[in-house]
């Protein structure tokens, strides 16, 4: 039976963790978390050794646990990133030139084997990807709705900020609409197990979801204009500047990664 996926993170659950829990990371300034995401993206891009990447991933996993977030859910949410890693890094593990592991299987196209270099590449890509996925989820699950909305309003130019704010607000409404439509169809005896014989049912449900979204937007326009909307959705929240110790920690992280890249990877600065 097809329902909403449990291997795609549900924004309602993510927001519930942010609003109802109070772990150590909930108390970290949201701007600091954005800074950490940036430094992690830079680090996984420039780090070139498996040990370093594995260490970074291990550290992020520990941070996830310290934030009092559930590991079991995380394993389920890894399905999509892992699928993508396997679909791309999987073939690369076979094609990558190097020393075969346990001999090569002869084929008409030549020897076919996983190489040590291919396996290392697969592990490196997995660590790179899962490090940022894990921290992005950690940040999302420890940052309150109003703080996220405030930062969207500050970071994005107009009209993208307005669209993003409405998207954030209405994601929860649209998820419930979609879930209601699926439940209603199931209660009327619908069968979602096979796509091709039920494609019109899928189209009807997705079409109703889009139609519901459009009609919600039309009602929204009336209420926005009635309140004197002039291109600015007023946000009442505020996210202050990070405290000095967090700024220093972020600056140290960036300095460390940039120094490693300049000295150890690109060898711009000879040692």
């Amino acid at each position: 039976m097809t329902t909403l996926s449990n291997h795609v993170p549900d924004p309602r659950l993510i927001t519930a963790f942010a609003e109802r829990r109070d772990g150590p990371l909930h108390r970290i300034n949201p701007w600091t978390k954005i800074g950490v995401v940036g430094v992690l993206v830079l680090a996984v891009t420039v780090f070139d050794r498996l040990a370093l990447l594995a260490g970074l991933y291990g550290t992020v996993l520990v941070v996830y646990g310290v934030a009092d977030l559930p590991y079991r859910r995380l394993i389920g949410w890894y399905t999509l990133p892992m699928l993508f890693i396997v679909s791309v890094a999987g073939p690369l593990a076979f094609l990558e030139p190097g020393t075969p592991i346990g001999g090569a299987l002869p084929t008409p196209f030549g020897g076919f084997s996983v190489t040590w270099e291919g396996l290392t590449l697969f592990l490196e890509l997995s660590c790179r990807s899962l490090t940022v996925v894990t921290f992005a989820l950690t940040a999302s699950m420890t940052t309150k709705y109003t703080d996220v909305a405030y930062m969207l309003g500050r970071l994005l130019p107009r009209p993208i900020d307005q669209i993003a704010l409405l998207t954030y607000r209405f994601t929860f409404v649209m998820l419930e609409t979609l879930e209601d439509l699926v439940k209603a169809a199931l209660s009327r005896g619908a069968n979602f197990s096979e796509f091709w014989s039920n494609k019109r049912l899928y189209a009807r449900i997705l079409g109703m979801t889009m139609l519901s979204a459009i009609e919600q937007s039309e009602r929204l326009v009336k209420s926005m204009e009635a309140r004197g909307y002039d291109g600015d959705l007023t946000l009442y929240g505020d996210v202050p500047r990070p405290p000095a110790r967090e700024l220093v920690a972020i600056a140290a992280c960036y300095t460390g990664v940039v120094a490693y890249a300049l000295v150890g990877v690109y060898e711009v600065v000879p040692v």
Binding site: T2, V8, P9, I14, L40, V41, V44, T45, V46, D48, L53, W77, P81, I85, V88, L92, L95, P97, G98, L121, E124, L125, R128, S129, L130, T131, V132, A136, A139, P159, I160, A164, L166, T167, R169, T171, L175, L178, K183, F192, F195, K199, R200, Y202, I205, L206, G207, M208, T209, M210, L211, S212, A213, I214, E215, S217, L220, V221, Y229, G231
Partner: protein, 226 residues
């Protein structure tokens, strides 16, 4: 939705910077054109709630080849138009990356791909309607074409960038990426057919939404519920 199905850190730093700059350039152009032409409240509301619907639809598991997920980018392009479609692509990619789907550093590349899908689907749909095609074949073909362009663009971006840490020559990388693009093309056909059926459904209840009648002459909202 064809995506760059590579995780974070898969591209070298220069490629990350390049695709981010090109993505930012595209979005800046779109924002400039929207600001210059003026944007109405209903367009902002449509884009915002449409992006929310697109994001919500991604949660539904479609039982094809073990389960696929789609954002209906082509449909968003057909309904919202090329400019708002590009902005919706950006917003959906930002929210997806925050939930661990798609890489934060590849938001620029992903936006390029998804915006191209929305833009191609919109213009193809309008062209085919102008050639007096019926709604279903026009929208299904337009969405499939848009998503196919996205798949090719995705493959091209990966081959141009190379994979971080891989010594594989570009020719061999092309073989590895070819398989992924072929898989994405298969998904594009499924999503195209689904988009065609959805547009046919929307045209039967609200023809103004797909440009078949004038927006100002339509009836009051139907009040859709479960």
């Amino acid at each position: 939705m064809p995506h760059i199905h590579l995780g974070e850190g898969s591209f070298p730093l220069w490629a990350l910077v390049l695709w981010t700059l090109i993505g930012a350039g595209l979005i800046s152009t779109v924002v400039y054109r929207i600001r210059k032409g003026g944007i109405k409240t209903h367009q902002i509301a449509l884009a915002g709630v449409g992006a929310a619907a697109s994001f919500a639809v991604f949660q539904l598991n479609i039982p094809v080849w073990g389960g696929i997920h789609m954002n209906l980018t082509g449909l968003v392009g057909i309904i919202a138009g090329p400019l708002l479609g590009a902005l919706v692509a950006l917003v959906v990619n930002i929210f997806s990356a925050a939930l661990g789907h798609g890489a934060v550093g590849l938001i620029g590349a992903n936006t390029l791909i998804n915006a191209s899908e929305a833009i191609v689907a919109y213009y193809a749909f309008k062209t085919l309607l102008g050639m007096e095609w019926d709604v279903f074949p026009a929208s299904a073909s337009a969405a499939t074409l848009g998503l196919s362009v996205g798949s090719f663009l995705m493959g091209a971006i990966i081959v141009i960038s190379g994979v971080n840490g891989s010594a594989l020559p570009r020719g061999d990388l092309l073989i590895a990426v070819g398989g992924l693009s072929a898989l994405n093309l298969g998904v594009a056909v499924v999503e195209g057919i689904l988009t065609g059926l959805i547009v046919q459904f929307l045209a039967s209840v609200r023809p103004d939404l797909v440009g078949l009648t004038d927006r100002d002459t339509r009836d009051e909202p139907t009040g859709v519920t479960a």
